[in-house]
């Protein structure tokens, strides 16, 4: 084989590979959002012991300044050493319009955090929750205006500069209106583009918007940068009744079993996301109150695992 033939052969090999890869789906790793509560650690223990948990996600800022249980620290060290630890911020507040002292402190803590653990990626929620006056809150959307996009991009860049790993944004399960649902996707797209960030697609958050605004999966996600989806979250939630017109609103509260509709939705859409690397199951530690809850937690995890296995198998068959 002369040089030209070798080059052609190499090209064909590469081309063949790329054709195969275009249709292949790498089996996503399945993981847990690690919670520090003893009830969670007890419930999750058998899953960790059996080796079923490929990866963990740690909401590091939840425990800054508090004592983390030894069992939790051991898991963090184990998964960090195995390059299987994801970081997830819950309180930075990406869209706070002016950098606050609390955010500066958050970035300092992040610096220590990434020195201590080997995070593969770091994500935060879309929206804002704090200001100078409000030091704690719940993430809320903001109007999609260029100034707000600049603020979000600057904050993402600040996180990336410190962490030196890919950064991502999680879509919210709350929107102020249908219009807001639509704009959230455009907003996240505009924020991720300059930092080449990833989308953490929370399937349950999409489901919340489907229920509350009577929209389809496609309608909720049509403006999101789905090609950037590298991680997924799956969880359960519950309805809250409100006074206005006696309506029930479905909330991303992580306090109940994963609804069957969410499992069905995941099964249906997962083949559309061949680049998703990780699927994380979220359940609040303080909602595992008894043996029944722990069994439900195991069942949900195992159902998720079988859906992922089936989707990967069918896609690659």
């Amino acid at each position: 084989m002369d040089a030209l033939d070798a080059e052609c052969f190499h090209f064909l090999q590469l081309n063949h590979l790329s054709v195969n890869c275009a249709f292949a789906m790498i089996s996503p790793k399945i993981g847990l959002s690690l919670m520090p509560e003893q009830a969670f650690l007890d419930a999750a223990h058998p899953l960790f012991e059996s080796g079923d948990v490929d990866i963990i996600e740690w909401s590091f800022d939840m425990c800054w300044g508090t004592s983390v249980p030894q069992q939790c620290l051991q898991l963090l060290n184990r998964y960090s050493a195995a390059n299987s630890l994801l970081g997830h911020g819950v309180s930075f507040s990406l869209l706070t319009a002016r950098r606050t002292k609390r955010q500066e402190l958050w970035l300092q803590y992040l610096q220590s955090e990434v020195r201590q653990y080997n995070y593969q990626k770091i994500s935060e929620h879309f929206g804002f929750l704090t200001t100078d006056v409000f030091i704690q809150g719940s993430p809320l959307p903001m109007p999609f205006v260029p100034e707000m996009v600049d603020i979000g991009v600057n904050n993402l860049q600040a996180i990336r500069n410190i962490a030196q790993v890919p950064v991502g944004i999680e879509n919210l399960g709350f929107a102020f209106s249908r219009h807001d649902v639509h704009d959230q996707g455009k907003f996240i797209t505009a924020m991720l583009e300059p930092v080449d960030g990833f989308l953490l697609l929370d399937i349950h958050n999409v489901y919340c918007n489907m229920i509350n605004f009577d929209l389809s999966f496609e309608e909720v996600t049509e403006t999101l940068p789905l090609h950037r989806a590298k991680e997924m979250h799956v969880s359960g939630g519950s309805f809250r009744s409100i006074q206005h017109e006696n309506k029930n609103i479905y909330c991303d509260s992580h306090d109940a079993a994963i609804p069957q509709d969410v499992f069905a939705l995941l099964e249906n859409v997962l083949p559309q996301f061949p680049h998703v690397e990780t699927i994380i199951f979220e359940r609040l530690g303080n909602t595992l109150l008894n043996k029944y809850d722990a069994e439900q937690f195991h069942d949900d995890f195992n159902t998720l695992k079988s859906i992922i296995k089936k989707a990967t198998h069918e896609q690659n068959a």
């Binding site: 319009a97 719940s138 707000m148 600057n154 709350f174 102020f176 017109e245 909330c251």
Partner: protein, 69 residues
């Protein structure tokens, strides 16, 4: 970044304070619609669903915390 976005920060403080302080949706809407500093933000306010305003108010009243300073 800090100086140029003061009006947005003021708006965020105003939004959170309104949701934190009031329970009744009509009152929340009336208060928010008094915001006259920026037509784009005011226009956004008019699109907000009353149901979701009530949810936001409940969430903020549950999870929200103000600085002691």
């Amino acid at each position: 970044m800090n100086k140029t976005h003061d009006h947005l920060m003021d708006f965020q403080e105003f939004l959170l304070d309104t949701l934190y302080t009031h329970d009744d949706v009509k009152t929340i809407q009336q208060k928010l619609e008094q915001y006259q500093n920026d037509p784009i933000l005011l226009n956004w306010i008019t699109t907000l669903s009353p149901h979701m305003l009530e949810v936001a108010a409940r969430m903020l009243q549950h999870w929200g915390k103000k600085s002691a300073a």
